[in-house]
C-alpha cells in the first residue's frame, strides 16, 4: 500500500507554480491592489482623497465602480528583516482573535500550488524554534498573555509579522494586537491571498540581505 501512494503521488506530477519567480497563475480579484478614484462609501475609511490605504481595506467592494481590483498581489510592506533568515525561515502562527480565514490562507502557502518549503520557509510547532511570529486577528483579552509569552519564548533575532487587516489596523472587527511600529512585516488583505503571504514571507527572509 505504501508503494501505491508513492506511485500515486508521482503520477499526479508537479502541481507547484513558479510564483514568486513568475507571475501568479490564478490571482484573485479580491483581495488585490485597487486603483481608481475617491469613493466616500468605504466603511473603514481606507479610501481617502489622497489615495487607497491597503492596511485598512477590508475588500468589501463597496467602492465599486470608483475603484477596481488590479489583481496585483504585492500588497504587503517589509519594514525590516534579518539577513540570517535568507536560507531558512521558520515561522510560528498565532491566532490572537482571527475569524479563521487568515488561518486557512496562511496554511495554504504550504499546499502543493504554493509549496513554501521549496523557498526555505517552514512551519514550526513552538515559538522556541521560530524566527518569526505570524500574528492573525484582532486583540482579545484571553490571548494577550499567550502572545506576550510566545514572543518572549522566541530566540533572537526575531521578526513580528502582521497577517491581515485585523492584525495591522483592526479592520472592521476590533483593535489590533500591537502598535504598528512593532511589526517588521505587514501583509494587507481580508484575508491576504496565499500569493500575497508567500511573496511577503519570501521578501521578509531576504530583507536583511546586503
Amino acid at each position: 500500500m505504501s508503494s501505491f501512494w508513492f506511485l500515486n503521488g508521482i503520477k499526479k506530477g508537479i502541481k507547484t507554480e513558479k510564483f514568486p519567480s513568475a507571475k501568479p497563475e490564478f490571482p484573485p480579484d479580491w483581495p488585490s491592489g485597487l486603483s481608481g478614484t475617491y469613493s466616500a462609501n468605504c466603511p473603514v475609511k481606507a479610501i481617502t482623497p489622497e489615495g487607497w490605504i491597503m492596511e485598512k481595506c477590508i475588500f468589501c467592494r463597496r467602492c465599486i465602480p470608483n475603484m477596481q481590483p488590479t489583481k496585483e498581489q504585492d500588497i504587503f510592506t517589509i519594514k525590516s528583516g534579518e539577513d540570517i533568515f535568507r536560507k531558512s525561515f521558520h515561522v510560528f502562527p498565532l491566532d490572537s482573535g482571527a475569524c479563521g480565514s487568515c488561518n486557512i490562507e496562511f496554511l495554504s502557502v504550504f499546499s502543493p500550488q504554493y509549496d513554501a518549503n521549496r523557498l526555505g520557509i517552514f512551519l514550526v510547532n513552538t515559538p522556541r524554534h521560530a524566527d518569526a511570529i505570524v500574528i492573525m486577528g484582532v486583540m482579545t483579552n484571553g490571548m494577550k498573555e499567550t502572545l506576550d509569552r510566545a514572543y518572549e519564548a522566541m530566540p533572537e533575532p526575531k521578526l513580528i509579522i502582521a497577517l491581515g487587516v485585523c492584525t495591522i489596523t483592526g479592520g472592521i472587527m476590533g483593535e489590533p494586537p500591537l502598535d504598528r511600529e512593532k511589526y517588521n512585516v505587514e501583509i494587507a488583505g481580508c484575508p491576504p491571498s496565499p500569493y500575497t503571504i508567500l511573496a511577503a514571507l519570501n521578501a521578509a527572509k531576504g530583507a536583511g540581505k546586503k
Binding site: M1, F4, W5, F6, N8, G9, K12, K15, F26, P28, D29, W30, P31, P43, I58, F59, C60, R61, R62, L94, D95, S96, G97, A98, C99, G100, S101, C102, N103, I104, E105, L107, S108, F110, S111, P112, Q113, L123, V124, N125, T126, G137, V138, T140, N141, G142, M143, T146, L147, A150, G171, I172, M173, G174, C190, P191, S193, P194
Partner: protein
C-alpha cells in the same frame, strides 16, 4: 417570525445563544446549561495542558487532559481564549453583514446567508427562487471546501503525506473556484439582504472535475487499512445531542436542509447521507459522501440560479429567526430590528454541541487518538468565541 416561535423547550436541541436555548422549531428563554465537568485525578494521574497556541491547532483553543499517561480519563475544552466582542447594535443590517461574514470567515457563506434569512424574515422581504438556488450553490461550495479541509486534517496526524497534499491541492482548487464564482475566495460581500451576486460560467465543468478527483481519492483512502484503523472505534458517540455529520454518522436522520425548508433543497432531490458507525471513521465517511452530494446539488441548482442586488424593505421593525445546515451542523440566527437598525442578534453555533460531543467521546481513548477525533468533528472556535453587543 415565520419559522420560529418563542415557547417551551421541546424537540431536537440545536444549541444555545447568549440568551436563549434553541430547539428545532422553538426558541426558549429558559437557557439550558451544560453539565459542568468535575474530575479529581486519582493517584498516579495528572493533568496535561495542551494549547491555546501550539502546533497542530488551527485556532486558539486550550485542553486540559486528565490522564495516568496514555488513557484519557477526561478532557476539558476551553474555547474562549480568543473571544471577540463584536458590536452590531445600532448598525443597519447591510452594515452588520460585513461583521457577520467575519465571525467565521471559513464559513462566511453559511453565517451570512443565515443572518440574511433572519433579517428577511424580520422585515418580510420575499426572496425569489433564483436567489435561493444561488445561495444553495454558495452553501454547497462552502460545504465541499470545509469537508475537504476536515479530510486533509485527518490525513495529517496519520503522517499520510500524499493524500494530505492531494486533498490540500483539491481544497485550493475549490477556493479558486469560489473566487471565480463570487469574486472573493471567502464569499465576502457575495450575498446581501434579499440578494446574491454570483457568476456561474465554467462552474459546471470545474465541479465535475473536482467531484471525480475526490471520488478517486476517497476510494483510495478507503483501501488504506492503516489510515482507517486510526479512525475506526475512535471517539464513539451515539447518545446525547448531536448535530451535523456527527449525528448523521450515528445514524440520525437530521439535517436542516430538510427539516427547515426555507431553501428549496427538496426540489433538487436532496437525500441525507447517513452512516451506522458513530466514530471518527463514520464522520469522515459522511463528510466525504457529502462532498459528492454537494457537487450533485450544485449541478442541479446551477440551471435555476439568478442574481439580484440588495432589497430595501419599507418595514423597519421586526424580529426574525432562521436556521441552516452549515458544514458542522445547524447554524441559527435570531435578529431583532428596531427603526431600521439592529437591536439584537443571537447566534447558536454548531460547534458548541460538537465540543460537548467531542469531550464525551474522548473518554476512554488514548493520546494518539486525540487529533483524529478532534478533527473529525470539524469544530470552529471563531464562531463560538464571540460576544455580540
Amino acid at each position: 417570525m415565520r419559522y420560529y416561535k418563542f415557547g417551551k423547550p421541546g424537540g431536537r436541541l440545536i444549541g444555545n445563544t447568549e440568551k436563549y436555548t434553541v430547539y428545532e422549531n422553538t426558541v426558549s428563554e429558559r437557557r439550558d446549561k451544560f453539565q459542568k465537568l468535575f474530575y479529581q485525578n486519582l493517584p498516579g494521574e495528572f493533568t496535561f495542558s495542551y494549547g491555546p497556541a501550539t502546533g497542530g491547532l488551527l485556532e486558539s483553543v486550550a485542553f486540559q487532559i486528565k490522564t495516568p499517561g496514555e488513557l484519557i480519563k477526561q478532557v476539558v475544552v476551553d474555547p474562549y481564549f480568543k473571544t471577540r466582542t463584536i458590536n452590531l447594535t445600532g448598525l443597519a443590517p447591510q452594515d452588520a453583514l460585513l461583521k457577520i461574514e467575519r465571525i467565521n470567515g471559513f464559513h462566511a457563506a453559511a453565517n451570512a446567508i443565515s443572518f440574511e434569512m433572519a433579517v428577511e424574515d424580520a422585515l418580510g422581504i420575499e426572496v425569489t427562487d433564483e436567489i435561493n438556488y444561488s445561495r444553495i450553490v454558495m452553501l454547497e461550495l462552502e460545504r465541499i471546501r470545509s469537508n475537504l479541509e476536515v479530510v486533509k486534517r485527518l490525513c495529517e496526524p496519520a503522517g499520510f503525506g500524499v493524500p494530505e497534499n492531494q486533498v490540500a491541492h483539491l481544497r485550493e482548487e475549490v477556493t479558486r473556484l469560489i473566487s471565480m464564482v463570487t469574486g472573493h475566495r471567502y464569499f465576502f460581500s457575495a450575498s446581501s439582504i434579499g440578494g446574491c451576486l454570483i457568476r456561474t460560467s465554467g462552474l459546471e465543468e470545474n465541479i465535475i472535475k473536482i467531484k471525480d478527483q475526490f471520488e478517486t481519492l476517497f476510494n483510495n483512502l478507503l483501501q488504506s487499512k492503516i489510515f482507517l484503523n486510526r479512525l475506526q472505534n475512535n471517539g464513539v458517540i451515539k447518545n446525547g445531542p448531536l448535530l451535523g455529520p456527527a449525528a448523521r454518522a450515528a445514524g440520525m436522520i437530521v439535517d436542516a436542509r430538510i427539516s427547515h425548508p426555507v431553501l428549496p433543497y427538496g426540489k433538487l432531490g436532496f437525500k441525507i447521507a447517513v452512516f451506522d458507525e458513530p466514530d471518527a471513521f463514520g464522520r469522515f465517511y459522511v463528510r466525504s459522501q457529502e462532498i459528492l452530494n454537494s457537487a450533485e446539488l450544485i449541478l442541479e441548482a446551477l440551471n435555476n440560479c439568478g442574481n439580484r442586488d440588495t432589497v430595501n424593505s419599507s418595514a423597519v421593525n421586526g424580529e426574525g429567526a432562521a436556521r441552516l445546515e452549515s458544514p458542522q451542523g445547524d447554524l441559527f440566527y435570531y435578529v431583532k430590528i428596531d427603526h431600521g437598525v439592529i437591536q439584537d442578534v443571537q447566534i447558536s453555533s454548531p460547534s458548541l454541541l460538537n465540543i460537548d460531543a467531542f469531550r464525551r467521546s474522548m473518554v476512554g481513548n488514548i493520546f494518539t487518538d486525540f487529533h483524529f477525533n478532534w478533527e473529525s468533528f470539524g469544530i470552529w472556535i471563531s464562531e463560538l468565541a464571540v460576544v455580540i453587543k
